[in-house]
Symmetry: C2
Subunit: 151 residues, 2 copies
Amino acid sequence: MPRQRKAGDIRRAEQIADRLHSAAIHVLRRVRHEDEATGLSAPRLSALSVIVFAGPITLGRLAAAEGVRPPTMTRLVQALETDGLVTRATDPGDARFTHIRATARGRSLLATGRRRRVAVLAREIAALSAGDRAVLARAATLMEQLADTAG
Amino acid sequence: MPRQRKAGDIRRAEQIADRLHSAAIHVLRRVRHEDEATGLSAPRLSALSVIVFAGPITLGRLAAAEGVRPPTMTRLVQALETDGLVTRATDPGDARFTHIRATARGRSLLATGRRRRVAVLAREIAALSAGDRAVLARAATLMEQLADTAG
DNA sequence: AAGGACAATTAGCAAGACTAACTACATCTG
DNA sequence: CAGATGTAGTTAGTCTTGCTAATTGTCCTT
């Protein structure tokens, strides 16, 4: 039965991949509106999140982390700077680099927004059985691995 | 201890929600480039997918299914129609409704794109243990429930 | 037959994504 | 040491996707 089993494995894996993809789309769509309550769009909020957690970071690295091109990140950072959420500083050793860091206000707004966003899902997750919560926790780890390593 | 235990549950649920949110973003980012190989943007591909699987569908229902407003869907459908992937037909009984259906070419392009997209994740998923695959399968179901019911 | 209700489209706007081209700076090399 | 090359970031211009408001066409109710 090795031939059939292998083909079956691949088919099953494809089905899981397809359902996971669809589920990811729907979960993100669900929380999108909550994010807007912070006054920041999803791309800005996501960029701010990286800036807060990755500490001071150059624009190029930030763009790569967010999966966008440098010009796109330039505008996102400009908007965040205008809102007083981040600051830019030229590298003293190599003036080509700009280091972006979050202000206290940026940190605080991110924390608030994060709470709001996750609250929607968290309420439902808290109502699940302990087993289902464990499944989701483990799945989150697996999905990060897939995202990192899939080639 | 009910108060403290409840607080702990919520914190744990929030952490899971946050990690799940992040994982969903990263998985989608990972497959985005594969989707582009079809020549269709993500919104168009997603709309086409609904049209293929939901059969003939009115524009309004399609817009609701995709979580966008009718004018946005009008333009997406126009683009798909220009590419010969869908057709529009006025309802014979009530001329206010437009029924959208996929062409053979639309179906075939979707199938190809789906295979490409899913192949990236499926290869990695197939390499997981049976237990981890089961976790992902169950998680996909749970995530769809969260997306539908979270309020 | 006129009025309101409803589906879809059109028009116009803002945000975000891209490429191409440009500036400023650093480094390497002849 | 000076010019060539390369690199980080920005600017300019375009396209797509979202939205709301307003319009068109159709149906139904009074």
